[in-house]
Symmetry: C2
Subunit: 343 residues, 2 copies
DNA sequence: GCAGGAATTTGAATCGTTTCAAAAGCAGAG
DNA sequence: CTCTGCTTTTGAAACGATTCAAATTCCTGC
C-alpha cells in the first residue's frame, strides 16, 4: 500500500505539503500541487482512513442502529441513509438491535471505539438513549433519532407525521360509513405507535364516535401480532366493520385472520395499514395504507448528520415528514344492510 | 475517552503489560492481570479500534457489497452475515452497488483505506473482481463471493444450488402434466440466472420435451422484467401453460401480467418462482417457489471469512447450499381439456 | 545463598496521518 | 543591498494502540 511518505518523496516535497494538498488546508503553489497530485494518481494513493481518523479523532463512518434489516420497512431507510452518506464520502456501519436493550447498548458502546462521525438510530426505547449517546455528543459526533423517539429526546430527529397519517386513514374509514371501528396498535412504548393511536382517536372524536377499550388492541409490529389480535377483535359484539392496523405487517396478519374467520375483506371487514410496503400491492385484496417514505427518513437523517459534522451547532432539528393515503381495495363502504339484519 | 496510558498508570504497570492483558498475548501474573482488568472496568475502557487497526494493519470490519438492500432477497443475507460477524466482534460496512460497474469499483477502492479484515461480495460481474480484489488478498484479507460468482472466480464462495432448485421446480410442473413450459430467466451474465436456466433445461430434457427459443425470455430480476416478458410469453402459440420464473420478483410481475391478460393463475397458467420470499405467502394465489436461505448464505460467508482471518489458508471453499420446493397455490395441473378445445 | 533458566514486565519503535510552530522563500519598499 | 511582511514549505510532535528485544523478577536445584 502506498503511503504519504512515498508520495512526498516522489513529488520531492515534505509530508506536510502532501497533506495540505490532499486537504486544501494551506496555500500550495500550483506547480507543487500538480506534482503531488500527479504522484497520487501515478500510484493510486488513498489516505489511510485509520491513521487519519486516529489523528483527527473522528472518522468518516456513520453508525446506523436499526431494529432488524429483515423487517421490510427498514431497508429503504438504510438505503436512503447510505446514498447520502456515500455520496459525501461517508460509509455506514450497520447494526441490528432486535429492539433488545442489551444489543442496542452493546452496539452503542462498541461503535464508539471506531470514532464514527455520527450515529443514526431507530431507538428501542428500552435504554436511556440520551445518556448513552452523551459520550458521542461530547466527542462532537452527531446523533439523529428516526422513525420513533426515545422518551425525553431533545436531539435531532426525523419522523413521519404518524398522528396525521393515522387520522387520515381513520377519517377515510369513517367517511366510508363505518361506525364500529377498531385499531391494532404497535407496542405502546414506541412513540410511532402511540402517535398513530392518537390520530385514530382524534378522528373518532371528530366524528363523535365512542369506542370501548376492547376495540383497541396492542400488538407487536408483525404478522403474528396482527393475526392474534384480529382474532380477538372479530369475536367482539358488535363486530368491528373496519380495522386500522398500525402497520402493514399487522394488516397482513389481520387479513389472514379475517379470511380464516370465514369473513371477507373488504365486504365484511375493511382494513387499512400503515407504511405502504410493496407487498401491499400484491395481497388479495390489495392493501390500502398510509404511505410514508422510509428512504426519505434515512436520507434526511443523513443530511442532518452531515450538516452537524460540517459544524452546524444550531438548535435541535425535528423534521416531520408528511404522509399520504394510498387507496387500494382493502377498505370499502360499511356493510349497512347486513349489519342491521344480523345484529 | 480513556486510553491505555491511563489504564497503565491506574494499574501501575507499563503500556506493554496492559496490551498483553487485553490480548492474552503473554503470560501475565494473575494479580497483575486483575489489577489491569479492574482498571479497565473502572473507567469503561475500550481499545481504540483505529489505533489498533493502524498498528495491526487490519481492523475488525468486514466490507459487504451487495446490489441493493432494498431488493427483498438481500436483507436476510446481510442479517446472516451481521449476526455472525457481530457475535465474533466484527462489524459490517454496508455498500450498495446497484449492479453498477463504477459503484462496485468505487466501493472496492475506498473500502481498502479502512483496512477491513475481509470482504463479502455479491458481484455484479461487470468488473474483473479477481483483479480488483487482489490487493485485498495480498494484504491478507479474505474475500468471499456469494449468491452468484464472477467469471473465473477461484476464491471462496457460497451459493445456493440454483441448478438443482430450478430442476425441482420444473420437474414439478412437468409432473403436473404441463408440456408447454416457458421460463423467464434473470440477466444471463449472472451465474445464478444461467444455473437456473440449466436446471430448467435439464428437467425438460429428462422429460423429452422440446422448446422453441422464444419460450425462454431473459429479464431483469424485478417485477417490471417479469411483467413485460410474461406479456410476450402469453402471446405465443401454443401459449405456455406453465412458467418458471427465475425469482419471486419476476413471478410477481408475471402474476400481474397474467391477470391483466384476462387469464387466471393457476387455472390457465401455472407459475413457480425462486427465493421463497415472505411476500409470496400473501399474494393471490400464493406463490409456489424454490426456497433458499438468504440468511444461511450470509452467515456461511461470514463463517468462512472468519476462518480465513483466523489463519486458515487451505484451498478455496465452494459451499453450495441446498434448496427445497415450497408448494403453495400458483401451480396446478395442466388444463388438458381446454387446451385441446382451443388449440 | 547463589547460579541459571524460565517467566514476567518494560520501553521504545512503529503504523500513517494531521497540525502547528518555525524556517525558508519571495516581493516590494527604502 | 537590506529590511519587512507575506506566502510557502518543512519538520516534529502528536493520535493510541501493538510488538519485540531487552531488562527484570521469580523459581528451582544445588
Amino acid at each position: 500500500m502506498p503511503n504519504m511518505k512515498q508520495i512526498a518523496k516522489m513529488a520531492r516535497v515534505s509530508l506536510g505539503t502532501v497533506s495540505h494538498v490532499l486537504n486544501n488546508s494551506a496555500g500550495v503553489r500550483e506547480p507543487v500541487r500538480m506534482r503531488v497530485l500527479e504522484a497520487v494518481r501515478a500510484v493510486g494513493y488513498r489516505p489511510n482512513q485509520l491513521a487519519r481518523g486516529l489523528r483527527r479523532v473522528r472518522t468518516s463512518m456513520i453508525g446506523m442502529i436499526i431494529p432488524d434489516i429483515t423487517n421490510p420497512f427498514f431497508p429503504a431507510v438504510v438505503r436512503g441513509a447510505e446514498d447520502i452518506a456515500f455520496s459525501n464520502g461517508y460509509r455506514l456501519i450497520l447494526c441490528n438491535s432486535d429492539n433488545h436493550h442489551s444489543k442496542e447498548l452493546a452496539h452503542l458502546n462498541e461503535l464508539r471505539a471506531y470514532l464514527p462521525a455520527g450515529l443514526i438510530v431507530i431507538p428501542s426505547n428500552f435504554s436511556d438513549l440520551t445518556a448513552q449517546t452523551d459520550v458521542y455528543r461530547r466527542a462532537g459526533a452527531g446523533v439523529v433519532c428516526i422513525d420513533r423517539l426515545p422518551t425525553n429526546w431533545s436531539g435531532d430527529s426525523v419522523t413521519a407525521n404518524n398522528e396525521q397519517g393515522a387520522y387520515k386513514a381513520t377519517r377515510y374509514l369513517i367517511q366510508l360509513g363505518h361506525t364500529t371501528l377498531a385499531t391494532i396498535t404497535g407496542p405502546l412504548h414506541l412513540t410511532n405507535a402511540t402517535d398513530r393511536l392518537c390520530g385514530f382517536k382524534r378522528a373518532l372524536r371528530g366524528a363523535k364516535l365512542k369506542l370501548g377499550p376492547e376495540y383497541v388492541q396492542e400488538a407487536t409490529f408483525d404478522k403474528n401480532g396482527g393475526y392474534s389480535k384480529t382474532a380477538i377483535l372479530l369475536r367482539l359484539i358488535p363486530r368491528p366493520t373496519a380495522i386500522f392496523a398500525a402497520n402493514d405487517m399487522i394488516a397482513l396478519g389481520a387479513l389472514l385472520a379475517i379470511r380464516e374467520a370465514g369473513l371477507r375483506c373488504p365486504e365484511d371487514v375493511s382494513l387499512i395499514g400503515f407504511d405502504d410496503l410493496d407487498l401491499g400491492e400484491t395481497t388479495n385484496p390489495s392493501l390500502s395504507s398510509v404511505s410514508q417514505s422510509g428512504y426519505q427518513l434515512g436520507a434526511t437523517a443523513a443530511d442532518i448528520l452531515l450538516s452537524r459534522i460540517k459544524g452546524d451547532t444550531g438548535p435541535a432539528k425535528h423534521i416531520v415528514l408528511g404522509t399520504s393515503l394510498t387507496i387500494r381495495n382493502s377498505a370499502a363502504r360499511a356493510p349497512e344492510i347486513e349489519r342491521s339484519i344480523f345484529q
